[in-house]
């Protein structure tokens, strides 16, 4: 009974709303006036692609150097219909995600220990700084030497590269605890454990997530660079192989796939961030 009543009321409300709302065309016009970028942004992309296509077809730039977008599209079709392609995406994804999970988990643990044990922090800090300033990609060849041509060397590279932003952001986050909030916990006679879980960790979470997002992006870079050096499978291998074969349109197609992979991974992190750090201010005015 009650559900039908609600249903009727809902319909009535919808009708009332449609009566009071301006017509669709007018609303769309208003939206576009307020946010012209909704149209202009995709339009600019189309313009660039058209110019590129024209320039390439007119042979202003040799197609071998810069293939036209239509050729890159052909490349994408080739990739997605090839039976060996899904495995390449899978391999790179596994390397990236495994490396990121291990690297960031270790980073969070070490960050927590650093904040709680000042001596440990003092001892380990010089190493952290030394590794931080070193461009980690130079380690890729040596990881291949140590861990072989397979997935392991790529995972280790992803671990090494994603570790630092996470450890630093964890430490910074844990140390950003409000002084009065610490005093409050002390006045309530909270244990160290309670202070950590009820205050320090939630305080640190937004910063930890900022580190995780950077770390994940870097993990993908790490995996690809290690694949460039030597590998049997993966998207990095496709890029180097196609380049050698001068199939530049396939290189571009692979770059697009890599970018989409990065975007998807980042999107997942962004989603988790919003779900877990639900209290963060999201005051976007625009």
């Amino acid at each position: 009974m009650s559900s039908t009543v609600e249903g009727l009321e809902g319909e009535a409300a919808a009708q009332a709303a449609s009566l009071t709302r301006p017509p669709l065309a007018q609303r769309l016009g208003g939206l576009l006036q307020a946010h012209p970028e909704i149209v202009l942004s995709p339009l600019s992309l189309v313009a660039i692609l058209v110019l590129w296509e024209v320039a390439s077809r007119a042979e202003l730039i040799p197609p071998i150097v810069l293939p036209p977008p239509s050729r890159v599209w052909d490349g994408l079709v080739i990739l997605f219909t090839a039976p060996w392609f899904p495995n390449q995406v899978w391999v790179t994804t596994v390397e990236t995600v495994t490396g990121f999970v291990i690297g960031s988990a270790a980073a969070i643990v070490i960050g927590i220990v650093m904040v709680n044990l000042p001596l440990f922090r003092k001892v380990i800090y010089p190493y952290i700084v030394a590794f931080q300033v070193m461009p980690k990609v130079v380690l890729a060849p040596i990881f291949i030497t140590w861990f072989g041509f397979g997935l392991t060397s790529k995972i280790v590279m992803a671990i090494a590269i994603s570790f630092f932003p996470v450890v630093i952001n964890t430490v910074v986050g844990l140390e950003s605890v409000d002084e009065n909030a610490s005093l409050l916990m002390r006045s309530l006679v909270a244990s160290r454990r309670q202070t950590f879980f009820k205050l320090a960790w939630p305080t640190a979470l937004p910063s930890v997530f900022a580190g995780l997002k950077t770390g994940l992006t870097l993990a993908l870079i790490g995996a690809l660079v290690a694949e460039f050096v030597t590998a049997k499978e993966g998207l990095g291998v496709l890029v180097t192989t196609f380049s050698f074969e001068l199939k530049v349109y396939l290189v571009f197609a692979t770059i697009i796939v890599v970018s989409v992979l990065g975007l998807v991974l980042y999107g997942i992190m962004e989603y988790l961030d919003r779900k877990i750090v639900y209290w963060r201010r999201t005051d976007f005015t625009g």
Binding site: D178, N180, L183, S187, V189, W279
Partner: protein, 270 residues
Amino acid sequence: MVELQTDQRLSGAGAATGAIQVSGVDKVFRRGQGAVPVEALRDVSLDVAPGQFVSFVGPSGCGKSTLLKLIGGLIEPTAGRITVGGREVAGPRRDVGIMFQTPVLFAWRTVLENVLLPIEICGLDRRACLEKARGILRLVGLEDRERAYPRELSGGMQQRAALSRVLVVDPPIILMDEPFGALDEFTREKMNLELLRIWGERRQTIVFVTHSIVEAVFLSDRVVVMGTRPGRVLSVLDVSLPRPRTIEMMKSPEFAATAFEIREHLGVAR
């Protein structure tokens, strides 16, 4: 030995009544080797009777917040002795509730969850205390905002929530460090009246730090006037205005006289 035991039993009773004794307390901050030590408090002595409302008033740097932190056991005195409820203060205690100048609400907790924080920390059953927490939110007029997050509240509402968090464990002693200092004049007056109403019902011992002479006179039974360099007690004045206090009393000659006397002791009136 026997005497000591009697003493402890007595102090148990004292904890419930909530008397505060400060005798000969000095506090010197040393910022590290080589740095000049800062004398925050020199030879401070005062007694607060159970159920009394006492304010510390004085300019910045007179050590009023330091004295409050000493009573709350958040810092240790350099010399002297402080007892609360007959027991010497050796650290923070659960019979002493502290309210800070900022509300210090946790952004990831709703108002109700923030109020329940001390319950969780004491290891009490959250569900058993839920009705009590709701009752206190009703007392401060936040009953319809229990699911709101702190950032959705105004400054006044945030301090009400902070007050509820102190009240939820029924401490016999409440220390308040300029709790309404960041609020606008109107909200502040309203909060003062509400605080008096709640105190009138429960009669905790309240130590209230403020730099507002008017606020100190309006709220207190006694006003401790403090001076700077070094931080010290200049005088202790009794406020003879009747209870319950009303805003109208602010224009009474007695109110003006007490406020003026405080100004004289502070050396502000010339």
